[in-house]
């Protein structure tokens, strides 16, 4: 499954893709474009990436998680381009025999995406203003 997508993320499909008869647990993280009081009237976000590296780095993050939790299956997708308010910008699903692994691996991959995968966002506001946004503490 392509990790960088320009169409809406189909979360149900991602969840289904890591389920199997031996998997009793799945943990799914979904990050969405939000309008927080402190952010002002955001209407969408434009995501861009250093695409070749973003794919490679996400692949490395997932490989590390699989080394650490070998029974876990993982899938992750990140949107690029224009993402409207409320739409998912990122989703990570971890399927596992047991819940602790599913939670830990899902979180590991999500932290890796935030800290290591070269993706940027520009917030688009109702009034037409645009602003590059660092993501301290965000979604």
């Amino acid at each position: 499954m392509n990790p960088l997508v320009r169409e809406p993320i189909d979360v149900s499909r991602l969840i289904a893709s890591v389920s199997g008869p031996g998997f009793g647990a799945s943990t799914t993280f979904v990050g969405s474009v939000r309008r927080a009081p402190e952010d002002g009237p955001v209407r969408a976000i434009d995501y861009s990436a250093y695409e070749e590296m973003a794919e490679a780095e996400l692949c490395r993050v997932i490989a590390e998680a699989k080394e650490r939790w070998p029974d876990v299956e993982l899938v992750a997708q990140h949107r690029l381009g224009r993402v409207a308010l409320g739409e998912a910008s990122v989703a990570v699903v971890a399927g596992a025999p047991h819940r602790a692994q599913a939670f830990d691996a899902c979180r590991y991959v999500m932290e890796g995406i935030k800290k290591r995968v070269p993706i940027w966002k520009k917030e688009l506001f109702d009034d037409g203003e645009e602003r590059w946004r660092d993501d301290e503490g965000g979604g």
């Binding site: 990140h78 910008s89 935030k114 995968v117 590059w132 660092d134 979604g139």
Partner: protein
């Protein structure tokens, strides 16, 4: 034997997001002496591109699509990327 101080290796610098906007370029080829480091390349880049001094002196960098530190050595043909603070998710 005397060797040239520049032009021994060529490095492609890639710029993204706000850094690309600052300098109005997404890609800049620079030449550097042999044994130059990532830090040397950043310093050169800040001199040669318009508004280069507005780029940070120590940005997050990736060499050939992997995160590296500023003291990493460069080789001819390397792809060096300057990464603004990451904001995925």
């Amino acid at each position: 034997m005397i060797r040239s101080q520049t032009g021994d290796i060529a490095v492609i610098c890639r710029l993204f997001a706000r850094y690309a906007e600052v300098v109005g370029r997404e890609e800049v080829k620079i030449e550097l002496p042999a044994r130059a480091t990532v830090g040397d390349a950043i310093a050169r880049l800040r001199q040669v591109v318009p508004n280069g001094s507005q780029l940070p002196e120590r940005p997050l960098v990736a060499l050939n699509r992997e995160h590296v530190l500023a003291d990493h050595a460069l080789a001819d043909g390397d792809e060096l990327a300057l990464l603004p603070p990451l904001a995925g998710g």
